[in-house]
């Protein structure tokens, strides 16, 4: 006999993400754009460092003031140690996706000439800039590298905002299937006679593509694939290791959202895709909540000092804030009902931008 559990009895999420920093090696923050993902990542990292965990935060495109707050001046692929964070140690790195891809090419190339040819190929150059998911893939790549660095006990990773949510999970697979495509393989390797007819078909396809895009593009693309020959194995192996890391128990996905209709809808479709990839959500950060004002306090002296018009304006303003708050609560519960996260951190709207480590430490308190 199965027992239906009424939704009201469902376990309430734990307040805060505090236990994650002690138990995880990697915390990935994901979610829609414009919800404060980068600040949240930095705040978690500062909080972790303050509690004595050696932490590195990996960011992609931090706002200027946040970068200043963290003390990172330049984009680069080497973590920079940040001064003066209580008892702990904190590093930050601002990712340079182009440089990371170039590094990979150099690593997997069989010779300097091969690397040189690829790096100067225009199709490659455009590919690294425009292939959707390259940035995301490089974030994962960097993550893997830092994961093996004994300096760090915890990595907090700010995933890039992306038009196609979760490109970063799909990117390694997409890159491999791109490099592995049958049609291109057949063009590269004439192979046994048995396969030749297919190869001819592939050539015919290419020829027609030339009519659309111009022969020069096709030639350069073919040159790129020829140069890449033999490097797919390195990329594939690496991509598999990255996937394995993401599926480890010590890796936690935290979703960052904000209590607005469109943001919650985006977060929900995000959650769906995440579970489609076989990942659970370890927690939700619901950011930018309007604070609660209605506590029932009314000052009699203020009451007496106010004209009716001013009193109405103040009452209306309070009522609107309460309305907004309840609408926000409804959005948050929509998210919680669907995703049932084990942890929840509700973060109030900050008055200004994050501008210092102290600001981050303060935000960390409401997160952890």
């Amino acid at each position: 006999m199965t027992i239906e559990v009424p939704s009201a009895v469902r376990a309430k999420p734990l307040e805060g993400l505090g236990d994650l920093i002690g138990n995880c090696k990697v915390v990935l923050l994901a979610g829609p754009g414009g919800v404060g993902k980068t600040s949240s990542a930095a705040a978690i990292a500062v909080g972790a460092a303050l509690s004595g965990v050696r932490t590195c935060v990996v960011t992609i495109d931090p706002a200027k003031r946040l970068a200043d707050a963290l003390g990172i001046e330049h984009i680069g692929n080497d973590p920079v140690e940040i001064e003066a964070v209580g008892a702990g140690k904190l590093w930050a790195v601002m990712l340079d996706a182009d440089a990371t891809f170039d590094e990979l090419v150099v690593r997997y190339a069989k010779s300097e000439e091969q690397a040189g040819r690829i790096l100067s190929n225009r199709v490659y150059q455009n590919l690294t800039r425009n292939l959707s998911g390259v940035q995301e893939y490089m974030a994962m790549e960097k993550l893997f590298e830092l994961h093996n660095d004994p300096r760090f006990e915890l990595l907090v990773v700010d995933t890039p905002p992306s038009a196609n949510a979760l490109d970063f999970l799909d990117a390694p697979r997409r890159l491999i299937s791109f490099l592995d495509n049958r049609v291109f393989r057949l063009i590269m390797r004439p192979g046994p006679a048995l396969l030749r007819p297919v190869s001819f078909a592939a050539r015919a396809v290419l020829k027609t593509i030339s009519r659309v895009v111009g022969a020069e593009v096709v030639d350069e693309a073919v040159a790129f694939f020829q140069d890449f020959e033999g490097m797919e194995d390195g990329f594939r192996e690496r991509a598999q290791s990255v996937q394995a890391l993401l599926h480890e128990d010590a890796t936690a996905f935290v979703m960052v959202s904000a209590p607005r209709g469109d943001t919650v809808s985006e977060a929900l479709s995000f959650g769906e895709k995440l579970s489609g990839f076989g990942f659970g959500i370890a927690g939700i950060i619901s950011n930018r909540h309007t604070p609660a004002f209605a506590t029932g306090s009314r000052s009699t002296s203020l009451e007496q000092a106010l004209e009716a018009r001013d009193r109405d304006a103040l009452e209306n303003n309070l009522a609107r804030m309460e309305l907004l708050r309840s609408a926000e609560d409804a959005e948050l519960s929509r998210l919680l009902t669907e995703l049932e996260p084990p942890r929840l951190a509700r973060v109030p709207l900050l008055e200004g931008d994050i501008a210092s480590i102290e600001d981050l430490a303060q935000m960390a308190r409401s997160l952890l």
Binding site: V123, N130, A163, F178, I209
Partner: protein
């Protein structure tokens, strides 16, 4: 001189408006409101979004609602969802290559090609816009541009492609799209932002980059979600200042006032950084979900707001 509302000016000055901004600034909302505004001006309007973005889909549903406010507008407004792969196949069909299109899809070559040939997805979207513009079916075409930090990549993709493709259909498409973007009477870029520190600095940076790159003419910058605040009498302000007890109304007012002040400072900073740029302001809507009525309200606001220039 009191100018026309900046959005009306933009709508009347160019057929294609590309509405762009970072994620979370309300770009899709503004696009939908702008499309309602254009239709409200009696123009045959297309609102174009990219498929697979759920908020866009919800807005489209909202616009499809059978609300009285839409009665006058609906006949003028059409909504399109674009998928780059479908545009490519349609394009090949139009050029007598239907079977090639099918074969490309079945072998997975389309996805490889669209990846291998950088910028082709962007180009396909822009080429479709150009085709819609050339068809003469629309007086206004509003594109809710893909939310990404790669606006410049998006806009420069035709040029990038033209640089590597010397001949072929791709080349001629790139040239046509570049011509569309370069002509201020055919297209304009409208940037949407928030009066917050980071969006302001990113928007002014993007604005300057687009301006110096010259790929497309710039329309107004729209600042979204500005906090409204009912003004109080000087006596009330004094009473609030002197107040020592706790009062919910005072707390709420101080919170909103401080937010409005901060937004005001950020807006002033945006004006300082972009002198001569036309600007429109959109109020914060007290609703977390946007239905047709809220969108129509925003459109009304954009149509009536006097210019807010330096």
């Amino acid at each position: 001189m009191a100018g026309k509302p900046p959005l009306i000016e933009a709508i009347e000055s160019a057929t294609v408006l590309i509405i762009a901004g970072k994620g979370g600034v309300g770009k899709s909302t503004i696009s939908a409101a702008a499309a309602i505004a254009a239709a409200g001006l009696g123009r045959r309007t297309a609102l174009v979004g990219l498929a697979h973005s759920r908020p866009a889909a919800e807005l489209m549903r909202a616009l499809g609602e059978d609300a009285p406010v839409m009665a006058a507008i609906s006949p003028k407004l059409r909504i399109f969802e674009l998928r780059p792969e479908e545009i490519l196949v349609e394009y090949l069909e139009d050029h007598g290559m239907a079977s090639l299109g099918r074969r490309l899809i079945s072998t997975g070559v389309v996805s490889v090609v669209s990846t291998a040939i950088p910028g082709i997805r962007e180009l396909l979207v822009l080429a479709k816009l150009k085709q819609m513009e050339r068809s003469g079916e629309f007086d206004s075409i509003i594109l809710d541009a893909p939310a990404s930090g790669h606006l410049l990549t998006f806009l420069s993709s035709p040029k990038g492609l033209a640089d590597i493709a010397n001949v072929g259909l791709l080349r001629s498409q790139s040239d046509d799209v570049q011509a569309l973007l370069a002509d201020p009477s055919r297209s304009k870029l409208v940037l949407v932002t928030l009066a917050e520190e980071t969006p302001v600095s990113e928007t002014s940076q993007t604005y300057s980059e687009v301006e110096s790159q010259g790929a497309i003419a710039l329309g107004p910058v729209i600042t979204n979600a500005l906090q409204g605040l009912t003004p109080l009498s000087p006596e009330a302000h004094k009473a609030l200042e002197k107040l020592e007890e706790k009062d919910d109304r005072a707390d709420a007012y101080r919170f909103v006032a401080s937010k409005a002040r901060l937004q005001g400072e950020n807006l002033a900073e945006l004006r300082r950084r972009l002198p001569g740029c036309r600007m429109a302001r959109v109020p914060f809507i007290f609703a977390t979900g946007l239905g047709v009525n809220e969108l129509a309200g925003l459109a009304e606001h954009l149509l009536s707001e006097a210019s807010d220039d330096n």
